[in-house]
């Protein structure tokens, strides 16, 4: 089983494109997708949509998504949108 780790860095547009790329690259992955959000301080609506697209794509392939280094502010956004149950979290 292989794990794909995606480091999300840069501005909000970069984050979206990295998420979109990740959603398209799940074919070779058999275990889990780890998204490293350590440098992400804020997520916007577009980023959230990309994240939800990735969740859907991962669900189709029965992949688990783990978020690593999620800031408190971003965690609160995910909580308000009831998305936290869709992920595992690593500190």
């Amino acid at each position: 089983m292989s794990t794909m780790t995606v480091f999300l860095k840069g501005d909000e547009e970069c984050v979206v494109s990295r998420l979109q790329e990740a959603a398209c690259s799940l074919d070779g992955v058999a275990g889990e997708v780890v998204l490293d959000l350590s440098t992400i301080r804020r997520i916007d609506s577009v980023g959230l949509r990309a994240l939800e697209d990735l969740i859907r794509a991962a669900d189709e392939k029965a992949l688990k998504i783990t978020l690593r280094g999620v800031s408190v502010d971003v965690y609160k956004v995910l909580k308000l949108l009831r998305l936290t149950q869709r992920f595992s979290f690593l500190s």
Binding site: R41, R42, I43, D44, S45, V46, L48, D73, V74, K76, V77, L80, L81
Partner: protein, 887 residues
């Protein structure tokens, strides 16, 4: 001008709820979903982010003010375009000016003196209904306030004002997003209807409904089960009082009532004018363009603008010009008429024009007096205007004040136009708004002008406060052998010595008399050697009033000193009601009753104890026996504390052995309980520890060698020092148990304390079943404090548990040395009798205030258990040991 039917249709929201289709539900869910995401994203925004967006939105609103006003008038056919421009500008500029420097993100207020911080939490998604009368201005206002508070809004404009509102939402939304605002922050329901509104009002993701509109909308919002701000109709009374500046008042009323053709619900409805200025006022109104209706015209006006069936205004008149209304109903007026004024003789259904009229028609009433005027204003206020707005024009502050008191309105506007005045920030310093809270009178939750604070959850972060504590003792304490000689320094013209017969008989009173300042008239008052009763106090106070002493010397044990304290209280403050002053309390500084401060007489109280236990010479307590009701009354106040204490061991050298033991253990109990009390402080700890050390060292000697001066002296000091500790830290559950048991079985206080003491120590040292809430202490430390005492007494032990055990064992050993009965059973009380009485004892102990400062909150079952342990006696340390746990 539109026809009645056309305008009626425009004003009223369709009343028939439609069933929502699946597609419609999906559409509405989409709107809420967008708003929900926007609100979540918004939580990450800083104050600077928000302020930047708000400023850009305010500028955009100002830029589009005229365009939006024109759209509103074209679509609704209500109001005046020029006035709507002003309203739009006020909604942007004045609201921006109010909110711009206000913090709405993170900590918004620090109350450093109270250790409180207020932190803003956005609500999330708001569902907002906006009215036809003020459509675009309300939208602009709500958008600014929502962004300032990081909320997203789903708008449902009045269907007949939808296009202009949607345009206003679009302007605000595009500006917000352009400047970094979250996508979906504002959405607008297309073709909204009642079913949509009902669905959205109950949507789980909607946090707050902000309904501005008619009574139906407001009622629906409040009935939805969601938190709601509902702002509905008014009926503004105006009192034009005879001292008012008439010229200014008339202009203000015309400005306000004609503004946007009277569509603002805060506008004037009935002007009550004092008789003295009534004619002059109407003349001025007429001069400035008002048409004053005669009786016949008034009838025509009533029929034309008020629906005779409902008693409410005709929708066709709302927001129309005075001349158009006149033409429509067949009144002949001048072409430049601004306002139609109709005299009325009262308020209610017989006077149709006394209701709300959102058009330039004003009722006027001639008042015969201020009382008459205020009554009519109250009537108008209660005829549909409760909680909303009222106006008074007067130069008489008393009239203005009275008007404010009797009228129930969230906004009481003084000497300025009602409608614009109520909007705030133009004529006064009210918070600018387009939503008037009408309080409970209007079925609303607030009387405020709605603004940012109503769009926030304000969280209060309360840091633990360091409560002020105290250490209060008499100003002067003289101690050691012959300390009584210090009496000489106290000048007095008349001194009363309060004592009992036995002390007089053994010569103690003579010793005192010899040491009183020469030339002092001295009178000796002998009272019974028992806890003071009401009757004794009354008689004694009569004696004091006869002699008018400036000094009272209490020579005796606790009872005599307590009696003297109460006598002094009644002598100095004759109005003191002892029963009232004995009311229960939890915290001395916060109690409800206040001790009298006015003094009819002045007298110094000097206490000379003749036992070494109660410490009454330095305490603020006094116990009184209320024989009539068969109870003890405890008075507690630092004003009861004697002014001077003389702790002279010569007065205790002849104390019997039994009394020495009883009072000595009372002293030890005071110190041990004060030491572990929740009110303990470093000040009381030092006293408590020293007293404990003195008792363990000298009580056995004083008991076995009563003439040992050093032992007597040290025990006398110990009693006083322990009392200083418990005067300020209080006692605990041991005293509660001893009071209940001692009173029931007639056992001396010290002896009763001794029976309970080892068991209570073990109980307090164990992990509490229930912790006692106490702002004065940090953590549970009773066991550690016992261990510290154990160390000071060099009792050995390595762990806290061992040290506690050793202290309890040492206490038990001391009790044995003093020949105390070590169980209640030893007193000859049968198990059956005790079993019968224990529940009552536990109840009495629970009612005793002594345990309120105990480190462990006693459960009723624990009090029963403690009584049984005392009944069986001995081995408290052994029994307690298995229950010790690490805290």
């Amino acid at each position: 001008m539109a026809t009645t039917e056309e305008i009626k249709e425009r004003i009223e929201i369709p009343l028939i709820a439609e069933t929502l289709t699946t597609e419609r539900i999906a559409y509405l869910e989409g709107l809420v979903g967008q708003a929900k995401t926007a609100a979540a994203v918004f939580t990450q925004f800083t104050q600077e982010d928000v302020d930047r967006i708000v400023k850009a939105m305010a500028l955009a609103g100002l830029e589009h003010a005229q365009h939006l006003a024109r759209l509103a008038v074209e679509e609704t056919k209500l109001g005046v375009m020029e006035d709507k421009v002003i309203k739009n500008m006020v909604a942007c500029e004045f609201v921006y000016n109010y909110v711009k420097d206000k913090r709405t993100v993170g900590v918004i207020r620090e109350l450093t003196d109270r250790n409180l911080s207020e932190i803003a939490e956005p609500i999330g998604v708001l569902f907002s209904l906006t009215p036809i009368t003020n459509p675009t201005s309300t939208v602009l206002f709500k958008c600014l306030v929502a962004v300032k508070t990081r909320n997203a809004v789903v708008f449902s404009p009045h269907p007949k004002a939808w296009h202009c509102c949607a345009e206003a939402v679009k302007v605000m939304y595009e500006t917000a997003v352009k400047h970094g605002g979250p996508e979906g922050v504002f959405t607008c329901v297309e073709s909204p209807n009642l079913a949509d509104n009902a669905y959205l009002m109950k949507h789980k993701d909607v946090g707050l409904i902000d309904a501005t509109g008619g009574p139906g909308v407001v009622k629906a919002a409040y009935s939805s089960g969601k938190p709601a701000l509902g702002v509905g109709p008014g009926n503004t009374p105006v009192y034009l009082e005879k001292t008012a500046d008439l010229s200014s008042a008339v202009v203000d009323i015309i400005v306000s009532k004609t503004f946007d053709n009277g569509t603002i619900c805060a506008s004037e409805q009935t002007v009550v004018i004092d008789d003295e200025i009534y004619d002059a006022a109407l003349k001025k109104f007429a001069e400035l363009g008002a048409h004053i209706c005669n009786e016949k015209e008034t009838r025509i006006l009533e029929r034309g603008v008020i629906d005779p069936q409902t008693g409410f205004m005709q929708p066709m008149a709302v927001g129309q010009k005075a001349t158009d209304i006149a033409r429509f109903i067949g009144l002949s007026v001048k072409p430049n008429t601004k306002l139609l004024i109709a005299p009325i003789q009262g308020v209610g259904s017989d006077h149709p024009l006394s209701v709300e009229k959102l058009f330039p028609v004003l009722a006027v009433y001639r008042a015969k007096s201020v009382t008459d005027a205020l009554k009519v204003c109250i009537d108008v206020n209660h005829a549909g205007g409760l909680g909303h707005t009222a106006v008074v024009f007067s130069r008489n502050d008393e009239v203005i004040r009275k008007f404010g008191e009797v009228i129930n309105a969230g906004r009481i506007i003084v000497n300025s136009p009602g409608s614009i005045g109520a909007l705030g920030a133009v004529y006064n310093d009210l918070v600018p708004t387009f939503s008037f809270g009408c309080g409970t009178g209007g079925g609303n939750s607030t009387t405020d002008n709605v603004n940012i604070h109503h769009y926030l959850n304000i969280k209060r972060q309360a840091r633990r406060t360091q409560n002020h504590m105290w250490f209060r003792v008499p100003n002067q304490i003289y101690f050691n052998m012959n300390a009584v000689e210090n009496l000489r320094q106290f000048q007095s013209s008349c001194t009363i010595v309060v004592t009992n017969a036995s002390l007089e008989r053994i010569g103690h009173v003579d010793i005192v008399r010899r040491n009183i300042c020469p030339k002092t008239h001295v009178h000796v008052m002998v009272i019974p050697d028992a806890e003071p009763e009401n009757k004794v106090i009354s008689q004694s106070v009569e004696t004091l009033n006869f002699y008018k002493p400036d000094q009272i010397i209490a020579l005796g044990g606790g009872s005599v000193i307590d009696a003297a304290k109460i006598m002094k209280l009644k002598y100095v403050s004759p109005e003191a009601d002892l029963e009232y002053l004995a009311a229960p309390f939890l915290d001395l500084r916060k109690r409800v009753v206040e001790y009298p401060t006015e003094k009819a007489n002045h007298a110094r109280l000097i206490a000379i104890p003749t036992t070494s236990g109660t410490g009454s010479e330095v305490t603020p307590f006094a116990v009184l026996i209320d024989k009539e009701h068969g109870r003890k009354v405890t008075l507690a106040d630092y004003s009861l504390t004697p002014d001077v204490a003389i702790v002279d061991p010569q007065f205790v050298m002849s104390m019997p052995r039994g009394l020495t033991a009883d009072t000595g253990i009372d002293c030890l109990t005071h110190a041990l309980e004060a030491g572990v009390s929740n009110y303990a402080s470093p000040y009381t700890d030092s006293s408590a520890v020293q007293a404990i050390r003195l008792v363990f060292t000298y009580l056995p000697i004083a008991y076995t060698h009563p003439h040992d001066e050093e032992a007597r002296c040290m025990m006398h000091n110990a009693a006083c020092i322990a009392a200083m500790a418990f005067s300020n830290a209080s006692v605990g559950v041991n005293h509660a148990l001893a009071h209940a048991f001692g009173a029931r079985f007639g056992v001396a206080h010290g002896r009763a304390n001794a029976l309970m003491l080892p068991h209570v120590m073990a109980y307090n040292a164990a992990v509490p079943t229930k912790f006692m809430p106490s702002p004065y202490s940090q953590g549970y430390v009773a066991h550690k404090k016992y261990a510290t005492v154990s160390d000071l007494l060099a009792l050995g032990g390595h762990t806290t548990e061992e040290k506690v055990k050793n202290l309890i064992a040492a206490t038990e050993q001391l009790l044995d040395q003093l020949d105390f009965p070590r169980s209640i059973a030893e007193l000859g009380i049968s198990k059956d009798e005790f079993e019968r009485i224990v529940p009552e004892l536990a109840k009495t102990a629970f009612d005793d205030p002594s345990w309120r400062s105990n480190p462990r909150m006693p459960l009723m079952s624990e009090l029963v258990e403690l009584f049984w342990k005392a009944y069986e006696g001995r081995n408290a340390a052994e029994v307690s040991s298995p229950k010790r746990q690490t805290v």
